[in-house]
């Protein structure tokens, strides 16, 4: 790894440790805690916490390709002052196009069927059923809502298991393994609640 990067990360962790080590004894002053222990734990928590806080950044940043820079040091230093070459860029993509490029899965090769529209349909169905369920509890209806609620959530569970977990498309043996547990679960439910 780059040496300066290591130094920067070290400084970052040390600043966290410093803040943790100073703030924790102050916070722990009125508690019955040994203040030196508090300072030590605060130091560790601060250093580790600051490093953990870097993880999202590291995940988002794209990695720079490892290409050795062949230029001499003075050429590298002079590079920012040279006029940049005109790069041909097309019109800026619209937000919708960017959204599409980042979140719409590419279609499969010709002979394979894509499940994109199935997934969207199932998601919409789940959202509607949830809305209906919540609405049922707010509206006064003359009948007991327990039966409809159980039926609706069973439908939701079936939708998720069948389509999102691919039990409908996969080998029936996986379904058999999974369904094997259901009688036992039903027994536990019935025995406990009756």
């Amino acid at each position: 790894m780059d040496q300066s990067l290591v130094l920067l990360i070290l400084f970052w962790a040390m600043s966290g440790a410093l803040i943790g080590g100073v703030v924790t004894p102050i916070l722990a002053a009125n508690k019955r805690v040994n203040e030196w222990l508090a300072a030590l734990l605060g130091t560790i928590a601060g250093a580790v916490g600051n490093l953990v806080a870097l993880v999202p950044l590291w995940l988002v940043l794209s990695r720079r390709p490892d290409v050795a820079d062949e230029r001499l040091p003075w050429q590298r230093d002079a590079a920012p002052f040279e006029p940049e070459a005109e790069v041909e860029t097309g019109p800026r993509p619209s937000p919708l196009e960017m959204l599409r490029a980042n979140f719409w899965p590419a279609s499969r090769p010709v002979h394979e069927h894509s499940h994109r529209m199935t997934y969207i349909g199932v998601f919409v169905a789940l959202a509607i059923i949830t809305a209906v369920e919540v609405a049922l509890t707010y509206i006064d209806v003359p009948f007991s809502i327990v039966g409809p609620l159980v039926a609706l959530s069973t439908a939701k569970v079936l939708l998720v298991v069948m389509f999102f977990m691919h039990l409908r498309f996969d080998s029936k043996l996986y379904a058999a393994v999974f369904l094997f547990a259901v009688p036992f679960a039903a027994m536990a439910l019935i025995v406990l609640s009756l």
Binding site: F103, E133, I145, V150, S153, Y174, V177, L189, V191
Partner: protein, 272 residues
Amino acid sequence: MSGNVRTVPDAVGEPDILTHEFEPAYDDTPGHEEIHLPPPSYAPFIVGVGAMLLVLSVIMPWMLILAVPVVAFGVWKMGSFPEIDLHPNWLPQLNDRKLGMWAFLASEVMFFASLIGAFIAFKIEHGFEEAYEVLSLPLATVGTTVLIVSSFAVVMGLEAIQSNDRRVFRNWMLVTLVLGVVFLSIQAFEWYELMHHDITVDTIFGTTFFLTTGFHGLHVFSGVAWLALLLIKARQGTYSADNYLGVELFGLYWHFVDVVWIVLFTVIYLIH
């Protein structure tokens, strides 16, 4: 990761470069290819020991200092183990890892059924009126929506990686990670509110409610940790249209957590 893969051994002895033609040390004529299998992993054993220490830390809290690093190390080692798909001889259409996942989920069904059964039993007996004045249905609805959207994000990510679309895959997985964390914070806020109204584990409602939703939250938390590992592996370019089973297994687990919450939402929040 390459440390786990046994590489081809070097040529035995020092071949005389000047007089001999170069010969590879292994035989790659058809039918004689070397099979590269990683040596058995010791990581599950470490996770097992760490899990035991975690359970011990219920009575000895200081044990957490030891248990958490051990579990984290073991899980990290398990996560960095190369992904190999083995198919049993007797049922070649099945995949060992997927079958194991489904068996695990079947055991989870029974586990959560007993927890939910206990909740229903206590509810029929006691009614829990004072707790329902504190519990917020709108907040729980937001939590449910968050989990359902995250489930949808996982399937879209899986669809993307099956079409070798790595950028879309990673974006959806990041969405899932964020939504999982959001769900956990909603749950933390809800627990805080309950504690604030003196509904603790000492009440009858508290014992069942905190146990049930707590175990579900623990599953969400493990899922988030797993997803973080998966994202790191995705960054290293592990997954592609030829190798997406790791993503699919995570998806199965995550959807199952979603299914459990759908049931819990109905039983705890909607029916009363």
